[in-house]
Structures are given as C-alpha cells and as structure tokens.
C-alpha cells in the first residue's frame, strides 16, 4: 500500500468524495467537511501524507489563494477604497499583533511561532462573509460591497505578512520582487492576449498560461524563502478584471481546483490536527478565539461608527470581519511545514480558525442581522420575475 500510488490516491479521493456527499447533504462547505474528515483520518485511520500529496496540497492552497484574489470586484474596491482600506487594515493589524503578543508573552511560544499565530488569526474569510450576506441580500447593497472590499484588504495583509516575515532579505528576494512586479504589470494585457488569440480551446492554453505564471512566481518565492501564496494572491488581484468578463475561465479554474487540488489541501490540513492536543490546549483555544474576536471588535467597531454605519450594521460588520478559514489554515500549515510551529500549536491554531468560521457567523446572524430597506409592497412584487441576482445559464 505504501508504494502503491494508485491505492493511496484512491483512498484520498474516497475521503474527498465522502466530504462532497456530506457537504451537499448538510449544507456546510466542502472545505470545512474535508478538514473534519482529515481530522478523523489522521487520528483514527492512520492516514498520512506523501511527497506527491504534499505537492498537490501546496498547489491547491496556491490556487485557492489565486481564486480568492481573482474573486474581487475591482470596481467596488476602487469605489470604497478609503473606508475599506481603513477597516481592512485595522481588521488585519489588531488580531495580528494581539494574537502574536499573546502567543509570545502568555503562551510562551517562540517568536517565529508567535508570528504564525498572529498571521493565522488575522484573517477574514471573504467567502464566509459573502455567503452570509447573500442570504440577507446585503451583498447587493453598498454596505455589503464595502464589507467585502475591506475583507480583501485584510486578507491582503495576511498574505503580505506570510510572504515577508519569514523571507530571506537577500538577492533572491530582490529577484523575486523584481520579477513579480514586472509580471504583475504586464499580466492583465498578456492574459487578454492569450485568451483573444488562442483561448477557449480544448488544450486550454489560457489555464496553462496562468499555471505557468503561478509556478514560476511560486518557485522564485521559494528561493527567497517567501511563500507562494503571496504572488498567487497578487496574480489573482491583477487579473480579477479579466475574470469578471470571462466567467468560463473562472469556472474551469474552480473545477480544476475543487476536483483535484483543494481536497488534498483541506484533507491534509485536517490530518495534522491532533485530537488529544485539542483537549490539552482547550483553554488556549478559547483564549485565542476570544482574542481574535475581541481585537477585531476593538479595531473595527469604532471605525464603523466613523464611517457612519448604524449600531446594528456596525456590530454585524465587525462580527463578520472576525471570521476566517482558508488563509488561517494556509498560514498555520505553512508554519507546520516549515517547522516554525509544532503539531500541538498547529492544532490550536486550526481549531481556533475553524471556530472563527462558525461562532462569529452564528452570533452575527442571530443577533445583529441588518434590516434591509426594502419596500413594503403595494403590488411591489416583480411580475413573473425572480428576485435572485443569479444570471440564467
């Protein structure tokens, strides 16, 4: 079994398939279910990773980061830049510094491990926020768009910290920065050119082109001892405008990611969570979770007042900005893979990250959901229409 790649792949794909089926049944994201199944597989079934799974998982996390960058609405970000930058920056800095200080001075973690704690807990999950807002219709309002833009700024802070804090400041880093800057400058034009000239063929040249860019910049990041998610996020950001106009390309990238790559990443992320360590670290887990939410509240809530959010909208926004999932697990796994944190610390961080996806969302939805200004109808119902914004396909 150990050397049989096919059987190992079959076992992992069986877990991924199981996660998909459970996800569809219970209405919880496949990513979270994959992490939880990974926890069970690692603790009870003796499943472990291999070098080729490590590569698929790493590529999966890079592609997830790329997709997260590409999902931004550039126009909305431009329109709300000032408040979004202020809220997003504070939303990143508060938990980043707070959790790092707490890990270092209260938890007694090594300095680099404390930075990983800060980065992992600084995140905001754009996807979690988006899903919640979709249910209330808030995603179509200016407030909703501002919140989403602020989440992107927070996540940008996270990937920037992950890419810079552990890098070697030497010639490789200079080369990485120079090449990344040049590529980002030309990438939107080049991507449009590739799509216009050879796009949407069965050999998928445009997908290969994007993968080539991600591999190249990821490789240079590795040489500089930086992290491949930084260029991946930046690449996503600069070609988000292309993706807005080319939904087919976006859907193909998602299909590749969710079928073949991200299951390996999320299963692996769960694999290293040690259940005994959850028990022994329970107090620290609760403390980190409260700290993450507390620092977000201290930082973001006053700003929501400054930008004239109502009390209820402000609390709702603050709680949504306390969520986290993808970048939190990516940061923690980066720390574990590079031996910056141990498995016990990894367990604590990933458990807090999962808790931060669920708990602030539940509180926000149950107690602070904004009341939308919709008309009380005198025949205000659209004739034979559907109110959902989803386009026909």
């Amino acid at each position: 079994m150990e050397s049989n790649v096919w059987l190992i792949a079959a076992a992992w794909m069986a877990l991924a398939l199981l996660a998909s089926l459970i996800s569809i049944r219970v209405g919880i994201s496949v990513a979270l279910i994959e992490i939880l199944i990974g926890v069970v597989a690692g603790n009870f079934l003796g499943v472990h990773s291999t070098p080729w799974i490590d590569f698929l998982a790493t590529f999966g996390s890079g592609l997830l980061t790329f997709l997260a960058g590409a999902e931004i609405d550039p126009e909305s970000l431009r329109r709300h830049l000032k408040p979004a930058a202020a809220i997003g920056t504070v939303s990143f800095l508060g938990p980043f510094l707070g959790a790092a200080a707490f890990a270092r001075w209260v938890g007694g973690w090594e300095p680099h491990a404390a930075w990983i704690a800060g980065i992992s807990l600084s995140t905001t999950s754009v996807a979690v926020v988006y899903a919640v807002m979709l249910e209330t219709g808030l995603n179509r309002t200016e407030l909703g768009k501002l919140i989403l833009a602020a989440c992107f700024i927070t996540d940008f802070g996270t990937v920037l910290a992950l890419g810079i804090l552990f890098a070697n400041f030497n010639a490789w880093l200079l080369l990485f920065v120079a090449v990344t800057a040049a590529v980002l400058w030309q990438l939107p034009r080049l991507t449009r050119l590739v799509i216009a000239r050879v796009g949407h063929r069965v050999s998928e040249p445009e997908v290969k082109f994007i993968f080539l860019v991600l591999f190249l910049l990821g490789g240079l990041a590795k040489l500089a001892r930086s992290e491949a998610v930084l260029p991946a996020y930046l690449v996503g950001l600069v070609i988000a405008g292309v993706f807005v106009r080319d939904r087919v390309l976006m859907e193909r990238m998602r299909t590749i990611a969710f079928t073949m790559l991200t299951p390996f990443y999320f299963l692996k992320a769960g694999l290293y969570v040690s259940l005994p360590a959850v028990g022994t670290g329970a107090l620290l887990i609760v403390a980190f979770l409260l700290l993450k939410m507390g620092t977000k509240i201290v930082g973001v809530w006053p700003l929501t007042h400054l930008f004239r959010f109502g009390r209820r909208d402000g609390l709702y926004t603050t709680l949504l900005m306390s969520t986290g999932l993808t970048f939190g697990t990516i940061s923690a796994l980066f720390g574990l893979s590079n031996h910056i944190i141990d498995q016990g610390q990894y367990t604590i961080l990933v458990t807090v990250v999962i808790g931060s996806a669920v708990i602030p969302t539940l509180i926000a939805q149950h107690y602070f959901e904004p009341r939308l200004p919709q008309p009380v109808a005198k025949m205000a119902v659209p004739e034979a229409g559907v109110s959902s914004p989803v386009p026909e396909s």
Partner: protein, 141 residues
C-alpha cells in the same frame, strides 16, 4: 375572512405541492393574488471561496426556476394574479420577512418539506414561520 394576497412556500416537495394547490383554491375563492416563493436554503455555510457559494446558488436557482415554471403552468389557467420569487436564505426567516415586506395576509406551507439536517434540531420550517409571521399561517397536510 377574505385574503388579499397569499404567500405560498414552494420547495419541490410533496407537502409544498399540496400547499400550492390549497393556496390556489383559496386565492380563487377570495379573488386574491398569489405570491409563490422558493428559498435557496442549501447555500454552503462556512465556504472556502466565493465561487463555491456562487456555484451552489446557481445550481439551486436552476432547480427552483424549474419548480416554479411547473407551478406557473398549473396556476395560470385559473386566472389568479400570480407572482414568483426565488430568494436565498433561511426558509422560515425569509418566508416570514417576505410576507411582511410584500404585505401578504396569509402564508400557506406544506407540513413536511425538504429540510437540512440541522433544522431537525431547531424545529420545522412551519413551526418557525408560525413563531415569526405577522399574519395568519396555514399549514397544509
């Protein structure tokens, strides 16, 4: 009592179909308008990417458009003023909220509909609509 505007929840289940038939009969009797609402309730919670949520919503939307298309074919020949909406959200909260916003004076629901696992622990959709609705609620068996 005469009803002016009746909201009926349609989720593709047998209970939902019974509710639609009852609501249509009542609308004919009262010369009321009928608002047929489907709720996209299976959007993935705690998603990793925005795309995951968007894809799932598209899937749900296609499903409910089909369901509502069939409902329209059944109801339209009866000459009842008919409106249709598909909205994402928690079924009970969304139905109660829409009923209030659209000034409906009756909500009609099937007794058993499709429901997610965690709703088993929170009570049925009908129970929660009854708790929250501003108007009368009719649960059809």
């Amino acid at each position: 009592m005469m009803f002016r505007r009746i909201l009926v929840g349609l989720d593709g289940s047998e209970g939902g179909r019974h509710a639609l038939e009852m609501a249509a009969d009542l609308a004919t009797l009262c010369k009321a308008e009928l608002l047929v609402v489907s709720i996209e309730e299976k959007l993935p919670a705690y998603a990793a990417t925005v795309g995951e949520v968007e894809d799932e919503e598209r899937h749900e939307h296609r499903y409910f458009r089909q369901i509502q298309h069939e409902a329209r074919r059944l109801i339209e020949p009866r000459g009842i003023p008919l409106h249709m909406e598909v909205v994402p959200g928690h079924p009970a909260l969304a139905l109660a909220r829409l009923a209030s916003e659209r000034d409906c004076d009756l909500i009609v629901l099937g007794h058993t509909g499709h429901s997610r696992l965690h709703h088993l622990f929170l009570g049925s959709t009908a129970d929660r609509v009854v708790e929250r609705a501003h108007c009368a609620v009719l649960v059809v068996r």
